[in-house]
Subunit: 229 residues, 2 copies
């Protein structure tokens, strides 16, 4: 049976391309072009784009070509705040209903992250780093929590693409192993604290420090380019 409509194929492909930063924020997503690529009509492309738009990965404005979303700094901070809140709940659930095989699953995933990082596949490494949190969410056993977290983690990739320093690989495997260790100990307080630490590290890699952000002015940037450029 044909499980997924061809609209889903376009949706999945676009989503992944955006998350892996193959499609940079701001990139135009023309319906015709995408439809031609997948061999589907604009009708189905629009459905995929609308879905991505609801998830905050694509921006759709009336009568304008859709683009990969460019989250503002304010949105970025909002996203991270919600993420903190959701991940805390997830960790709480995990320590409450921990089962040893969860540790195996997580361990296996981190190994994949490490492998991707070691072979220099930064796109996959970033994606897998994000997916680690989605695996956590699924294991926590609340589908809605997992859906929201998945959405929020995807948008963090966008934030990293816009505000993160270039070439900063996620390099989070060590931190992920710490999280697993804390969960295995089933110590809720410690797990939450370690997760919070990790999330702050992720946020620090993705966002400029607050005072930096406020200091940056267009004239400063232009000044840099007028002396040496």
């Amino acid at each position: 049976m044909e499980i997924s409509s061809r609209s889903d194929i376009a949706y999945q492909a676009l989503r992944r391309a955006i998350i892996e930063q193959a499609l940079a924020p701001g990139t135009k997503l023309r319906e015709d072009e995408i439809g031609a690529h997948f061999g589907i009509s604009r009708t189905l492309v629009r459905a995929a784009l609308m879905r991505l738009s609801q998830e905050g990965l694509v921006e759709i404005k009336r009568k304008r070509t859709a683009t990969v979303a460019i989250p503002s700094l304010d949105e970025a901070r909002e996203i991270f705040e919600v993420r903190h809140c959701l991940e805390q709940q997830i960790v709480q659930r995990l320590t409450a209903h921990w089962r040893p095989e969860m540790g195996e699953t997580l361990e296996a995933h981190v190994n994949e992250e490490e492998a991707a990082a070691q072979r220099g596949d930064t796109a996959s490494a970033s994606r897998l780093a994000g997916e680690f949190h989605i695996v956590l969410a699924r294991l926590a056993g609340n589908a809605l929590l997992a859906r929201y977290l998945s959405e929020v983690v995807s948008r963090c990739s966008l934030i990293l693409a816009v505000y993160g320093r270039p070439h900063v690989a996620e390099c989070a495997t060590a931190e992920h192993r710490n999280v697993i260790a804390a969960l295995r100990a089933r110590d809720a307080a410690a797990s939450i604290s370690i997760m919070n630490e990790h999330l702050h590290a992720v946020e620090a890699r993705a966002l400029p420090r607050p005072q930096e952000a406020e200091d940056v002015r267009i004239s400063d940037i232009l000044a840099r380019y007028s002396t040496a450029g």
Copy 2:
């Protein structure tokens, strides 16, 4: 300028009808029928239905007429859990950034709830009771948090429709006033505790007690009907 496409009109109307329980869970939503009512084509109706489906208010299955969603008990519990988590964050933000005029806004809203309840307009009263929490979320100043909460609160109306006792008006105005009072005192711990209490009360009205749910068996129900029916 024509701000909202006509698809939005259908979306808004359907959403409100579902939330006010004018459209009961399980009701069929035929594209032709809806399109004819609003004077739009199926294309636009589909867009509205897809959006509602992503919010969990409508169920869409391939090649089947869309229906108003019927949340399962498991989903219902998941929804309430996420709601707890989000509302806690909202209350935390509110006590941190409290401004006196927020109290006025909230007070005015509760007055509306009360007015609707007193004139016997239970549909509006329920909707306004839910919207109280959405107003809180907006005042908290995190748009994403507000969006998720709005989605979750809408789905609570569905849960109430499916599992709540009939004719149970929400009657939450007193509890809402307690929340406002706690926020005004800017005591985060007390506010969170009062909000948790309120949410548990809401949940108790919407869901059967856990042991009840497990005890209910089809044979029990049939037994009732074979003696007296």
